[in-house]
Assembly symmetry: C2
Homo-oligomer: 406 residues x 2
């Protein structure tokens, strides 16, 4: 007998028929002899409607009251799913965040789970009851409802799986697994059977939006085995797990890209100690998230050029901030470009194999694609390219690393 947490997102519970369908999936898992907890999101569209109500009333609304409003979406789904499960003859009950309780900090709208008290839940599950738990919500230190931020239901599911010491956390979604790259761009993209936490983190954070980044971090920390699979088809998905569980390791497991990039180059900034801090300090204070940073050695030892990327939403704000500080920083001018894309090659294998980066550069060179910025980490090489080259680059790299499906 295993203990399993199943999580269903908004499209999987989008209407009453789909909720009944979810109930049948849960029944099958339960009747296979497993203890089952189910975590659900709001029915698709509901959260947006609730957020819109809040905005209509006040553009800058109180985050605590926002949480009271938007947390109702998941509460509706747990009640309906419990009803559907009971209709199938199963014992089931719903649990709101405060009933479990799932304790969080008081950062309303983007709270972090601090602990989950599982005694009552476990007793119910061990007694043969299916626990239907509201995702995305918890209870703060002052007994007020909190939410985890958009996509937080994945985090709820993984945290619950960790707290329950579950054998697996199955995340049902509208894709059937994690692919070597975006199948909309590369027809020959392959579904991966297994992927390590580390690779999944890099894939998720650079644009393959299957699992929320925070939920993968949490899974990695607590060694929760997470399976991503389709709620509409009955076939195995992709298991996100410890590297050790992956027998046949691939050199490179995926090609990711992100169009949400904008490039800023600070030209001829005085090359003195502390200059990077004085450029990025004000950006950090203004909550502008800086991604890739490149600084070359200066030729004459007096001036250097500093290039970095920000998300497109922060682009104008970053430029305005730097213009404000021009006198203080003493640079000559800014060069900016938001028609760029970040393409990344990801794989655990590159830690032990040389030449992975070199293959990337030569492949792009063969296609005549100019690399603007390069940045590397232990298991990833990322390059910044002109946005027009996105598809060409991703397809060429997918083939070059032998990822194409047969």
């Amino acid at each position: 007998m295993a203990r399993i947490v199943m999580k269903f997102g908004g499209t999987s519970v989008g209407d009453c028929d789909r909720i009944k369908n979810v109930a049948r999936r849960v029944k099958k898992e339960f009747e296979a002899g497993n203890q089952v907890a189910v975590v659900v999101s709001a029915m698709s569209g509901v959260t947006n409607q609730l957020v819109d109500y809040c905005r209509q009333i006040a553009p800058l609304h109180d985050a605590r009251e926002y949480d009271v409003v938007v947390s109702t979406g998941e509460q509706v789904t747990i009640g309906l799913l419990a009803i559907a499960l009971r209709e199938l003859g199963l014992r089931a009950r719903s649990w709101t965040g405060w009933q479990v309780p799932i304790r969080t900090d008081d950062a309303h709208g983007k709270a972090r789970i601090e602990s989950i008290e599982t005694e009552e839940l476990l007793a119910a599950m061990e007694g043969g009851q299916i626990a239907v738990v509201a995702g995305f919500q918890g209870i703060g230190p002052e007994n007020r409802i909190t939410t985890l931020g958009r996509g937080g239901s994945d985090t709820s599911a993984v945290a619950l799986a960790a707290a329950l010491d579950a054998d697996r956390c199955d995340i049902y979604t509208d894709v059937d697994g994690v692919y070597t790259t975006d199948p909309r761009i590369v027809v020959k993209a392959r579904k991966l059977d297994k992927i390590s936490y580390e690779e999944m983190l890099e894939l998720a954070s650079v644009g393959a939006k299957v699992l929320q980044t925070r939920s993968v971090e949490m899974a990695m920390k607590h060694r929760v085995r997470v399976q991503v699979l389709s709620s509409f088809e009955e076939k195995p998905g992709t298991l996100v797990c410890d590297e050790d569980e992956i027998v046949e390791k691939e050199l490179v497991s995926g090609i990711a890209y992100s169009r949400d990039e904008a490039k800023i180059t600070v030209i001829k900034v005085p090359d003195r100690p502390g200059i990077a801090a004085s450029v990025f300090g004000p950006l950090a204070d203004a909550n502008v998230n800086v991604d890739m940073i490149v600084q070359n050695v200066s030729e004459d030892g007096r001036f250097t050029d500093l290039t970095f990327t920000v998300s497109r939403a922060d682009f104008d704000r970053a430029i305005a901030l730097l213009n404000e500080k021009k006198g203080e920083l003493g640079y000559e001018r800014l060069m900016t470009d938001n028609n760029v894309v970040k393409v990344s090659v990801i794989g655990m294998g590159m830690r032990s194999h040389a030449g992975v980066a070199q293959k990337m550069f030569s492949t792009l060179a063969e296609k005549g694609i100019n690399i603007q910025v390069i940045s590397t980490s232990e298991i990833k090489v990322s390059v910044l390219l002109g946005e027009d080259y996105t598809e060409l680059a991703v397809r060429a790299l997918h083939s070059a690393y032998g990822l194409d499906a047969q």
Copy 2:
């Protein structure tokens, strides 16, 4: 400084603009120097949608899960109203039923309030915060969400006013007060300035659906002064209060009618002790609510006729039950009619004045209206008439008792 509970129903909070409007009304009351708690219903249409979801998934759904689902309607409204109040520069916070907490029994779907713990709420209000409380909901003995049944927000408001020892409970609704009769039938119907609890109870239970009956009972028990007024116009409404507070008592304060009546006569039932019990026992067991009951003395001491009314929804079931028991009860046949209306004359004054009933009978006789059944209580005379005579009877009585507006 007074302490006031304000309650707004579904149409008053039907969309974001109306919620902003409610916030302005609350602000005015607060800035007049009062401590204010606001009780709100779900936005109009929302509860019906949620109930419909439950029914789509299972016609006979678990009442505990139903409560989890439908209680979200009020939770959305409290969050939105708190946001709207804060947008007006006021300090406000929302309170769900379990946060207050409002403790109820475990009769899910139609729970009764057992106690309200007001310490936290009062401390907040005394500190200048406006308390926005979810109507219709509470928390049961096992920490599960309960609801009070349709219209329960009125009861929540009155119970809260009693627990807070409030000076007044203002119920804002889509009518501007309690009328001497239905203004759709009698153009000259008058709005009452004041009405006693007892009269209001009779008016509400016979069809003038302004306040939920249970809320009036509770107001009477705890002597809560309840004002019914319009949420769309700014003028005084009708105060429901203790008889002693009403200086100029009217002989008759209103004419009510109810079309939800069906008449059943059991013909030639043996006239022996216990026969009433054996007729009404099975109906009570089957949850059929019997209203008017008339039994005349029998002419020969052997047989009698027993007439009573039930609501139209219970009509067929009541007939089926009596047919089942025909042999046992030994009656000759049933005579049934669901084209009837109950018209009632209500007034505290009739306790001390004779002739009120007589005036009713003579007025109806003058119009050639046949009275089928008569029943009286201390402050009410009700008659059962053919349904076609409803308007004629109500208008004639309204004039006869001098209730027409000048």
